[in-house]
Amino acid sequence: MENAIESVKQLIGELGLWLDKLNGLISDSMALLEKTRAVYTLIIRWVFPLLACYIFVRCALPLLHEGKRSGAWGYLGLENGVKYPLMHWENSIGRGNLSDVRIDFPEISRSHAVLSYRRGGWRIFDLNSKGGIEVNGGKIDHSAKIKDGDTISLAGIALTKLPSDIDFSADPGKKTFLSKLAYLGRHISSGITLFLIILFQILGMLQLCFAMSADFNIAVPVSILSLLILECLYFILTRRRGGKYTELELFAFFLCGFSLFVVSSGAPNQLYKQLTAVVVGVTAFSVLKGLIGNLNRARKLKYVLAVCGLGLLAFNLLFGEYRFGAKNWISLGFMSFQPSEFVKVSFVLAGAASLDRLLTTKNLTKFILLSGACLCALILMRDLGTALIFFVTFLVIAFMRSGDIKTIAIISGGALLGAVAAIFIMPYIAARFEAWGHVWAYADTSGYQQTRTMIYAASGGLLGLGGGNGYLINIAAADTDLVFGVLCEEWGLLTAITVTLIIAFLALFTVLITAKCRSSFYAIIACGAATVFLFQTALNVLGSVDLLPLTGVTYPFVSNGGSSMISSWCLLAFIKSADERRRPDIEDIICEELDNLNYDPGEDWMM
């Protein structure tokens, strides 16, 4: 018995010694971890800006590269042997300077006709020309199909539709700086770019995990790894479907990574919500791209969208709740969202949809009414930033549609007067701008957020302090309104600038592809979407550093917020669907023809 007690005592003693040892081991490893973490940040803060710049270049160059773009798709021949190449999906014909096919005869109107490539064949549309159009001797009423060899007579001047050259001889073109840059992008592999993005996000995740050693939150690695899986899945599925360029989506995924980084250091309990928003956003992106891939369907959508958009805003006005001084939230109990984010998407689409062919509809009345209603609702909601975004988007879309600078100048002038009047009537608007331009004088009142953004952005230097090592994130709304400052502080000024330049590049890309869109409809929605991205980013970034008034709008893809994330992906779908830089091959044409027979083979809505 005594023996047993003795041995138990001994055992307990041993156990105690072992526990002590373990304790020492743990504290040793904690010290080691502490050192590892410091060394990791020391090295990795150099890697992030360089990698970000490299990823930017790798994504940008292939987008600039024109890929398989063919030469002329066909020709219009005059009787004297002069040939006019047809270079676009839609070709305007007329005497005007900006006509795609410029035929300088006095009989021909400035904008006489449009020749479109549709459903595997060409079709000519009369633009109410004075001289009229005859096809093979018969006068046409509105539009007519054109086959190779047909003779088109514009106000008596005969043109013959000729087939394209067999060899698709490349357009010699001018060697501009951009085209030289683009040439560099011809062999860049999307797969490796994706790999680099994943690498960036894994390194970022490790940095965040190191930074929070004390109160480790499992949601950080889980959500970032989930994002990586989503990226891989999307990439593989797209490749399977024979997708062309994925760089546009890679850009978005890269930005989404920063969104999760910011949420990780600010509000890790919202990570799963943000991740869900990314998943929903990617899905919405794919569905929307498929939906508007068909022009007829897109045109039908516009009424539904316009009504839905206005309905949402009206609902918001009645049942919304105030957050940060704007009544722009709807709470459904289990979740809450910002309707204005979604209205943005329908607004852009509805604005473009009433115009399906080049130069056919100049009537802006309906669009002006829709815009006016949206703006009034937003102003009543006191969401001035979003109202401003809507207004600028309206201006761009209206200009794209009509080219009517006079009308737009009148509208802008009216809006300016309205704004001045509004400031007099509603003094709280003026109060919001009192600090603008001299925030340091209001450093602890109305300039609070901007001064903090500048203080902490400067603290980060060019390379940043490392994710999770910032203080700005603790300021109210830092992960949405001041997200640029958070990027500067934690990831460095260089990375933050790169991220902002991505948005600017998306706009440049959109402008470059407008000439090659399947229809001006796509050109307009893409430009509308690019405008929203650009203007929102400008208000967010420049507002947070006191170059513009702080209006509290989100940074597309990067700010914390589900509604903003989903609507950003939807807008990206508009740019993506405009990216149609090659002549469809024969299968696509068959697809379209089948579609025309009301047969939907569940076509490529993924890509």
Binding site: A38, L359, M400, A458, S459, G464, L534
Partner: protein
């Protein structure tokens, strides 16, 4: 579609706006980022408005005067030294606007454009540390010598411009700051460095400026005999001396500080000339060195007439002098009329040697400086008593600045050591201290003896 493309360029205008804005921000970031990070709410550097994360400040001998340990700002271990150099270093809340922690906070914060405030713990850089030319022990001696009286002591090397001693009273222990509002009397102006940020009525020390003008403008000044009846009436207003000096030479008049003689000299010189010499001496300007600016003094002689002008010539009327500025004037006299720009940041690099070499500025002819040196040496020998300043080779002038309002006058004592091995200029001011040489002289003696001992390695 060409048309669409042309119109789409409107989007590029917006893109240009964004890129331009980003560009402007980057420029601002580069030019003002170092100021932005200094805003005291920056938690990387401050805690509750207190600077917690900054480099070390040491004195000329490597004595640590301030440093950060475990996110807390610590000062010197010795309470006396902490208190003596409080104004030079600054308190924890940055209330002393000329303190090193305020003036050099950019360097102390270690901010740079590339790294921001990032610092790798193990490889701590010394780029954020600063060394001062001060001698902390000497400051402590000066603080003790002042014995709690309000005022200031300054000592500088007039050949190199190094400031060795800078003490201002009242002071407090920055590690245990008192609630100054509880005793506004004894903490009056406690956050002001009285050497730099205050100007006082100079009294008789100003006679050195008048003497400099007299030496150059009145060629027979040494051979003249002045007459003092103890007072002088100028259009009904009296200029008085403490006692009747009788017949007196220029040399004796400076040593005995005869107001009547100097009143006569001033009236003979005219206000314009006196103003000119005061400005040449730098009295009316602010001294700028190492990012610090002193308070400018004041002399308005040009429109003064009669008794006003006479009083201005003997350091009363509206005359105000900043002690540090006067210290540099003493240094210039000692250095043969050449003023070496003072500095407090210790930097023995080539650049700073060049800076010292080119910052020399002659403010009076060598002969005038020699003459003044002779007169100031005579002051000590014939009036203040050489036995009190044994072996120092002291040249000095005392001053008793009347402040009115029934308060005792401010005691001044300023001068230099005429020694090659210890080229030191000094100034002592004791507020309401009474007679200049009696009150401020002993303080100067203690500080200068200690300074000489420390410079020559003791005796």
């Amino acid at each position: 579609m060409k048309l669409m493309y042309k119109r789409a360029v409107s989007v590029l205008v917006l893109a240009a706006l964004l890129v331009f804005g980003l560009f402007v921000f980057t420029i601002r970031y580069i030019s003002s980022g170092e100021n932005w990070v200094q805003y005291p709410v920056n938690q990387h550097l401050y805690k509750n408005g207190e600077l917690i994360n900054a480099g070390e400040i040491t004195d000329r001998n490597g004595e640590i005067l301030a440093r950060t340990v475990d996110e807390e700002r610590k000062f010197n271990d010795d309470r006396l030294i902490r208190t003596a150099v409080m104004h030079a270093i600054g308190d924890i809340n940055g209330n002393v606007s000329t303190g090193a922690q305020v003036i050099y906070r950019k360097k102390l914060s270690g901010w740079d454009l590339l790294n921001g405030v990032y610092r790798f713990d193990v490889l701590r850089t010394t780029g954020m540390d600063i060394a001062l030319t001060l001698d902390a022990e000497l400051c402590a001696v000066a603080y003790q010598a002042m014995n709690g009286r309000k005022g200031t002591v300054g000592v500088m090397n007039y050949k190199t411009g190094e400031v060795l001693c800078m003490v201002s009273l009242p002071s407090f222990d920055p590690s245990d700051p008192p609630d100054v509002n509880l005793d506004l009397g004894s903490y009056e102006g406690v956050y002001l460095n009285r050497l730099l940020s205050v100007s006082y009525t100079p009294g008789s020390v100003f006679k050195l400026v008048t003497a400099a003008a007299a030496i150059e403008k009145l060629s027979d000044i040494d051979s003249r005999i002045f007459s003092c009846d103890g007072f002088m009436e100028i259009s009904g207003v009296r200029v008085t001396c403490p006692s009747k000096h009788g017949d007196i030479t220029f040399e004796e008049a400076l040593a005995d500080s005869c107001n009547v003689t100097f009143a006569q000299i001033t009236l003979e010189l005219s206000g314009t000339i006196l103003q000119d010499y005061a400005e040449r001496a730098g009295i009316t300007a602010s001294v700028g060195f190492d990012g610090i600016r002193t308070k400018a003094g004041n002399v308005d002689c040009i429109n003064a007439e009669g008794a006003d002008l006479a009083w201005a010539g003997i350091g009363q009327y509206t005359d105000m002098v900043n002690p540090f500025q006067f210290l540099t004037y003493m240094g210039a006299i000692a250095n043969g009329g050449v003023l070496v720009s003072p500095h407090i940041l210790s930097d023995n690099g080539l650049l700073s040697r060049i800076a010292v070499a080119i910052s020399k500025n002659r403010i009076m002819p060598g002969s005038t400086a020699e003459h003044l040196t002779y007169l100031m040496r005579n002051n000590v020998v014939s009036n203040y008593g050489e036995q009190s300043y044994g072996g120092l080779e002291l040249c000095a002038k005392s001053g008793t600045g009347e402040v009115g309002g029934g308060r005792a006058p401010n005691a001044w004592f300023a001068g230099f050591l005429n020694r090659e091995d210890c080229p030191l200029a000094f100034v002592v001011v004791i507020e309401n201290g009474g007679s200049g040489s009696a009150a401020a002289g002993p303080v100067a003696a203690k500080v200068l003896q200690a300074a000489v001992n420390r410079l020559t390695g003791g005796q």
